[in-house]
Subunit: 460 residues, 4 copies
């Protein structure tokens, strides 16, 4: 029995075609090796036949795609990699065995394991980021529709758990939307910057120069080697690195920061949904709340629960990436690099799962107008006490208003007290307007409108 | 393609018979269900035949053992569990299908998913803790031998990376030993306290009382239900819970704290080994350093690197458990509980892998006496400057001693300067003794002896 | 302007006589120095007059007390310490200046800054732990009273935010109590183990042996030096260290783990209070909820909010201590040690503030029986649907019961449907009993009783 | 005695004019209040005299500057704020008392505490970011100079602590530079996006509309209120918020992510400096290494140690901000917001201190060419074994080369073995060139050149 996680304890699942499963990682590792062979051919050092042979042998599917159909078993590779510290070393051996002798030198020439593993993980990450963005596009579209449809639905706003003043359901949706949109932008920035890695044993590409020298002579070798990283990156549809980044790990931490920001944005929605679907509140319900055979009246906010579990975990994973980045030393670190792999993968998985779950949650969200109205009235009109104070204090005096509110908080009719006091004062106040929550939503509608004007941003 | 981790990106591997793999978790889940059936029989509510039938059907192997040979597929269960939020619900369905109709009511009676999942994870944890302790027993025994063998081997002590004063190899081993021993004690405390969980829907065991009432009548039902948790715990060789702990998660956090402490202790050894095996230092070498085909002179401290990667990650995982614990709310939390599962499992795996790797590292550790001696002399005797200052300042005056040391730090012979100055002063000082590092190791030997007196503590 | 935190942004405040303020830390640092002088006298190396003079000069107040009235300015010391990396170096200079020349050698003899700083922080920690425990004793006593008074007050239990089955207010209090009690035990263990530190430059106590040799000769020097750590520890009322722990940092991490566990326990209570005092729920209210002049109807659970803010922060601080512990290297680490100081202090402050706030919160907690009863009935009897299903399924058939519950969840009268169906079936069922939530609280009362039997544990 | 941190335990100090000290925070809080008054005047609701009076009374110094000379005591305010949960409430009271009665309504009109506190913290953050960037500009300039001066200084590259292949000192500096530059860009992005906060009680600005209505009538009120946030932001030189961000906390987390990235970049330099200044390596030394009176030969890398302590802590603080962001709920969260303040401040302080310390470290960095050359030769030429293998394998056969290297690793002369074998083979190989480390630095020089071409980027 070996290490195996098949999802039994994965509360937030990624679903079909999991882009971070071992099979997908392996496809990316193979693609990185094939891309490297292809790049050597493109820069004129390796013979073109090598690119063709290696591409064909290992299921190359084009720039930015992991290889498929390569026939290499991830579990066997994992077992072989465990004893040498990373899976690239046995992978190179396996790949060389499977091609003709003349092509073997062009598999993994002048590269180090970190070049291949970093590049493959960036490929996995870029594809995961696309899937996450697709989830968030769905979320954004649905939230735009909700914000538009409920632009003027008045509801109780709550601060520190207590009813404060009125707000609107539309503004709540627009607020969620703001978090999601910002997360998308940040993720697009980070994913677009993900570079390929190519530095050789210690970031100098010395072996690449040496390799190029043998074929092209010393005069052309530097240029060929210098062209290699961009060529390699293009084959993987990754960004060209400014320089080898064996110890400058911002590509990993910026990605991690963007992923946790996406989970944060999902977490805020989930926190609100879980809260507003409480039995006593009931303003929202998930479309497919998990039932309980023993307690069939329950409408468990199961999707919110799963997203919240991701939101609790994700910050710690992103922090792991920073701890690793900050401890990088020498020309390759003595532990920090290895710490990144599982943390980055799990964080990708959490972001994939949380955003996918959010997409389903939002698509099925039920809004109970009756419950919203009932709760809005729960404080007997005190939800607009802020406005009443502001309007009546100049008329009745601040002390008189305070007494009214105190009596209302104690149980007397707020409306009755207000009408009585205003009437006694002889002031000309439109009390119906004053006590109407819908008349005290400030700029809520305009903020929603601004949000709707943006529409759904295109995937980058 | 579903979520799968087969170890491809697991830098610190657990090895054979991984006690936290999905198969092992499933065995524990099944064992928890069987134990529950057995407990109901033991307390006289269920018929004894149910215990026998269920035990036989699902590979019961005795108290504290996960079930084996139960024929349930973890991947299928994971897929089924993903849609309902946890694997227990489909597991109960599957198990009921596989037994005779009359026994079905005695599978999972009056229990909630959390009862089974918490209890199963505690079982997994307890077994993992035993495996970790076994690793640490090996480490302790080897370190005792190293400390004894090198009790008086003088070496340079370093603070902030700089040579400070002499120490001994034995004291360094004894210091590692102190961390490992404390971690063992803490882990034993935490593992010994791991309780079974049994609370029903909301921690009152109301359904258990109801179930017992139907068989035993209201008079005996309370007593039967009250006996159930201890009976259930005994079947799993877990501690009896004081009360249901659905929202008081100290069993999880105390275990997590102990696990990270074990990884910390391993991390300290790994940091020292990685440092002291640097090319320029070379005092230590791992017995099986990872080679590099391209750079065959390298003796990579591969085990230290893997342990350090675990040490970077583990604190963040233990913190995840605390975040979850601190946010528990209601009678079952809305996300915090789900956040625990993968974090606890990964932390168990890190502690298993780090301690197993440490055991191999220590067993093969090579100590290079020549390098130690060379380094000890690297500062030309200034390694004992603290002593020289203390001894000669009263004789020569503090200023004169400071001048000597400054000149020596600038390149002149420390021994020469000292001999010259003492001779000029006419003082009676045993300079050979004064400059001998072995004469300035203080209580190092006695601290080692105290450590050796303890010996290897028995596994608890 | 220098670095100053006067509490302006400290949401959870510690209150009077803050045991971790810079003044208190300085008092402990001075006490550690005085204790060291005294220890050297006790073991017969320094003259007794030194102990008297130094004790008198710096406000020594007895074992385990920080010094007071020493006249050293913390801000000035902080400024001086900033340039040399720690405050001990300038402190020693200042203290030596203030005593007669003959006593100066007995201030800080043979010690390293880490000896004094570690020992002082342990002293600060031990005293803070006592204050935390005093807070928790108050909490425990009040919770015992609440659990007793409300042993049989039936309330809705909630899981995932949804009403599940009945529980009792007493059981909820007993559950909080369980977390608090465990935290107290763990903190007592950790605080009781806090050792003094005494190792000299690199943990060998070589300078101590040398110092003792000068006074006592080589024959007695080892014994005198060996007696020193225990003597020093006794002066500070700390535990005797097994060995110097410059790089085996379990005293710090075990304390940190216990502190975060205390904050976790407070966090659980705060989460429940914040939730149950929501406007729509209203079962609990803080005795002194923070008002809002603009919205006077709000009863903000201000104490819960502050405790929750601590609960969010504390796990990250405890994790910082583990990261530092795991990275300790050499005979004194190159950064990890310095990372501990502010993290440990802030964690002590959070635990002090959170438990103190909890004590006030619990003392003033208001329980609204009417709201509890209203909420218990909010699902129209479905709160006991688990029991109804269990009892009626054998009588009416599971399908018929499921139909009843589904109709009730849809809005029909649960009681009416149940009475109708049972009546139609002719079965003999006590429906009043069946539908009474108070009849379905299982072992809640007995669990409370067991908890009450424990009473309030004495401070250790 | 109240809560006080005067820097006694602050290992990484910020220095003069600490922009996050309580005094500075208070200046920003006052500035936020004054800016709000000014904004109300600018949008034509408040009388212009109010802006003048309030600005004059509280030391307004212009857009983006904290107020000074306002005469409000931070410690008193902290004490008053502790009882009500935040310092803004007593601040408003104090400020109102200090202006003429007619201006009082224009202090804090329609605002909530969070508006002022968030805006003030953003002001503090923006100013801190400028100071951090100024530190990093210095670092960048010095690193550019180092990279240029040492472009071709050949040194041993190390991976996993072991000598690997040659690199250059210039490339090492360029690698540090890459991290610093990226951190600057990220920080500029985050700091430039920091928005003012203005939402009122629950993010609708309803009270602002109400306030504007009283002066301007209902027709113009919406426009005036809508103009307010941008006007307010301009007074603080902050970005205009898209919408209130009471629960969408990306401004805080993006800033936190950028701050930790800056600390990461500093941490990498510090890790290298601490390592390369080890006694046995000695390639680098800090210009002002901390001495040790007892061990004067030590050249403690004190600045590196302090930076590393910050690098250990910072990821945990940034993670705290994400945990808080992900748990935001309702229209203002019940604990998460309060958790941000101290974490953000401490993270700002760490970034300020770490980058300031880095600036000093880099400015004084000593590079020991002799030590570099000595270490480069430490493996007897095996530092170029990768190249030797690549060049000679085709000539001598891979097995023969492997045997040579194995014998050399065992102690024989690598150069002798190579010369002998090549000579025996009769091959035409330029052995002097082959064994020259300076001939095997690949693209190191070109990567440095590209880095130098960028020059020092202007502060944004």
């Amino acid at each position: 029995m070996s290490e195996r996680d098949l999802g039994l304890l994965a509360p937030v699942t990624v679903g079909f075609d999991d882009p971070v499963a071992d099979e997908a990682v392996l496809g990316a590792l193979v693609a990185a090796e094939v891309a490297l062979t292809r790049a050597w051919c493109t820069v004129g050092v390796a013979p073109a036949a090598a690119a063709d042979a290696v591409s064909a042998a290992f299921g190359w599917r084009g720039a930015g795609e992991p290889c498929a159909g390569h026939g290499i078993d991830p579990a066997a590779l994992a077992a072989a990699g465990a004893s040498v510290g990373n899976p690239v070393i046995p992978l190179v051996g396996t790949m060389r065995e499977r091609v003709a002798v003349e092509h073997r030198p062009w598999i993994h020439p002048a590269a180090t394991s970190q070049d291949v593993l970093d590049s493959a993980l960036m490929l996995v990450a870029r594809r995961s980021a696309e899937a996450i963005d697709a989830h968030l596009v769905d979320v954004e579209a649905t939230l735009v529709a909700i914000a538009a449809a409920h632009r003027d639905s008045v509801a109780a706003a709550r601060t520190l758990g207590q009813h404060a003043v009125p707000t609107t359901v539309g503004l709540r949706a627009a607020t969620w939307l703001a978090g999601v949109r910002r997360a998308r932008r940040r993720l697009a920035d980070a994913a677009g910057a993900l570079p390929a890695q190519l530095g050789g044993a210690a970031g100098t590409l010395a072996a690449s120069v040496e390799t190029a020298t043998r074929t092209r002579g010393p005069r052309d070798a530097l240029a060929a080697a210098e062209a290699l990283p961009a060529t390699f990156a293009a084959e993987l549809a990754l960004a060209t690195p400014d320089a080898p980044w064996h110890t400058t790990r911002w590509p990993v931490t910026e990605l991690g920061d963007a992923l946790v920001q996406a989970v944060d944005a999902a977490g805020v929605v989930a926190a609100d949904v879980a809260t507003l679907s409480r039995t006593e509140i009931g303003e929202l319900a998930e479309g497919a709340p998990a039932g309980s055979s023993a307690m069939p009246h329950k409408r468990n906010p199961a999707a919110s629960v799963l997203i919240r579990s991701a939101a609790i975990r994700a910050p710690h994973l992103a922090a792991t990436l920073h701890t690793a980045a900050a401890l990088a030393v020498d020309e390759r670190p003595d532990g920090a690099w290895h710490a990144e792999w599982p943390a980055l993968r799990e964080l990708l998985r959490l972001a994939l799962g949380a955003t996918g779950t959010l997409s389903r949650l939002i698509a099925g969200l039920t809004i109970d107008d009756a419950a919203i109205a009932r709760n809005l009235g729960a404080t007997g009109g005190l939800i607009v006490s802020e406005r009443v104070s502001a309007v009546l204090a100049p008329v009745l005096g601040a002390d008189a208003v305070a007494r009214i509110i105190a009596r209302a908080a104690g149980g007397e009719s707020f409306e009755g007290l207000v009408r009585e006091a205003v009437s006694a004062s002889g002031a000309d106040v439109d009390i119906d307007d004053l006590l109407e929550p819908a008349r005290y939503t400030g700029l809520a509608g305009r903020i929603v409108d601004r949000s709707l004007d943006i529409g759904v941003e295109e995937p980058s």
